[in-house]
């Protein structure tokens, strides 16, 4: 689908920019978000009218309306009809509970689809990042295609990291105590920035090196928490390059 349609008006060519939706759920979500309404309580009459108005606009502009959009329109009208029907007088509470809101299924689909959009957006970010790294294109060696194994990279669990940290703390603590340096005042955010700055200069840093220059236990713990936060945010990777080797902190590849 195209983002922009060029239309020929009587007074010459002019451009109309259309929001193009990847499907009826996308359009519906857009309408709901634009109206800033609660997804769990969709004003179905209003939204159905807007949805139909959009389809009319598409038709008016001679743009093909996909069958999926028409199907959704039918679904919306069905829900609308059910909601407008006079509700039967309910005799018991039980019946009242059983009376299901006709919008429930739609809401569930919308919520699920919302996640899809979220993931798609993140994949797009990754795509954009990855597109900055160009592989070798020239004169590939004939027959030299090698099938690579999905070898488990030396991943490090959070637990490994905590253990490494406590070992480090234990070994460095006597030295720290002796120094008796005035305590640094750093927030976790400061430390996160510091680690990222460091990784901007060298792509990989030894775990121990991150803490080598710190002068207090508090600073070390702050740094450690900052590192955990960066891992959680997927801004850094942690891996063990050798089986018994040092843990290495690396920049999240593809991110500048």
């Amino acid at each position: 689908m195209v983002k922009t349609e060029t239309l020929k008006g009587e007074k010459g060519a002019y451009q109309v920019t259309l929001e193009v939706f990847s499907g009826p759920l996308d359009l519906l979500l857009h309408l709901i978000e634009r109206a800033e309404i609660d997804i769990y309580n969709i004003p179905i009459v209003e939204i159905t009218d807007q949805f139909l108005a959009y389809l009319q606009t598409m038709e008016f502009l001679d743009l093909q309306v996909a069958a999926d959009f028409l199907l959704m329109a039918a679904t919306l009208m069905q829900i609308k009809a059910r909601m407008l029907l006079p509700r039967p007088v309910l005799e018991t509470e039980e019946e009242a509970v059983e009376e299901e809101d006709p919008r429930v299924e739609l809401v569930e689909r919308l919520l699920e689809y919302k996640k899809v959009k979220e993931v798609a957006a993140r994949l797009q970010d990754k795509e954009r990042e990855a597109s900055k790294f160009f592989p070798r294109a020239g004169g590939s060696f004939p027959d030299l295609e090698v099938a690579a194994a999905a070898e488990p990279a030396g991943r490090v669990t959070l637990w490994d990291l905590v253990q490494a940290f406590s070992a480090l703390l234990e070994s460095l603590l006597p030295r720290l105590e002796l120094k008796g340096m005035p305590e640094e005042q750093y927030s976790i955010q400061d430390k996160m920035d510091e680690i990222l700055d460091r990784l901007a200069r060298t792509p990989q840093v030894f775990f121990s090196a991150l803490f080598a220059e710190l002068t207090s236990k508090k600073a070390m713990i702050t740094s450690f928490l900052a590192l955990l936060e960066l891992i959680r945010m997927r801004k850094v990777l942690v891996r063990q390059e050798m089986t018994f080797g040092e843990i290495v902190i690396a920049r999240w590849e593809g991110k500048t």
Binding site: M1, S22, G23, P24, L25, A66, A67, D68, R109, Y113, K115, V116, K117, E118, V119, A120, R122, L123, Q124, K126, E127, E129, A130, S131, K132, F133, F134, P135, R136, A137, F141, L144, E145, V146, A147, A148, A149, A150, E151, P152, A153, R155, V156, T157, L158, W159, T202, P203, Q204, L228, I231, R232, R234, E241, M242, G245, V248, E253, G254, T256
Partner: protein, 183 residues
């Protein structure tokens, strides 16, 4: 083979291969143990960085590959001889997102989630080698199941599926590792 030579061999191997080369493969070819290969690779990666080169070593899809540094992109885009990829459409990205997180999955299941027919996105994704048929689902019609490929990992610069971004309460892929959910 000297240390320096070994590094040269690894560089040549990674350079010449059209696919990421695994540590295991390099170990077999050089007849060095995997641990040594890893140290050599680590040093090689360092050299690429220290020396402010235009290329760097990247760990992707379970192996190693050479790529240009991101800051070179602005120059590379000016050279027509450099092949460039057309970014995926929104529709294709959504389809791919569903496959990546819910694989193996059938077309009908994807269509239920997206609310549209996905034939053309599936064709695009299959042509680009980002997804593949992984088998057939039990049940009526035995529909084809789709999953992501190694090319998918390469395309998005991921080392494994574990590196897919986490979506809150959409933990679909059971392979997502404990280290990330531990907190």
């Amino acid at each position: 083979m000297s240390w320096r030579q070994a590094k040269a061999v690894l560089e040549a191997l990674i350079f010449a291969s059209s696919e990421p080369v695994t540590v295991k493969e390099m170990s077999i070819i050089t007849e060095l143990n995997e641990e040594t290969v890893r140290i050599l690779l680590f040093e090689l990666a360092q050299e690429y960085n220290d020396q402010q080169r235009g290329i760097q070593l990247m760990e992707v899809a379970g192996g190693y590959q050479l790529v240009t540094k991101p800051e070179m992109a602005v120059y590379l885009e000016k050279l027509k001889k450099v092949p460039r990829q057309v970014p995926l459409s929104q529709a294709a990205l959504e389809t791919l997102a569903i496959i990546a997180y819910k694989q193996p999955i059938t077309r009908a299941e994807i269509e239920t989630i997206r609310g549209v027919r996905v034939d053309s996105s599936l064709t695009t994704l299959l042509e680009k080698g980002l997804i593949e048929e992984t088998g057939r689902k039990e049940g009526p019609g035995r529909p084809i199941l789709y999953g992501t490929t190694k090319e998918f990992l390469k395309y998005f610069g991921l080392n494994s599926l574990d590196e897919l971004p986490i979506v809150d309460d959409w933990i679909l892929n059971q392979q997502i590792q404990i280290d990330l959910t531990a907190d």
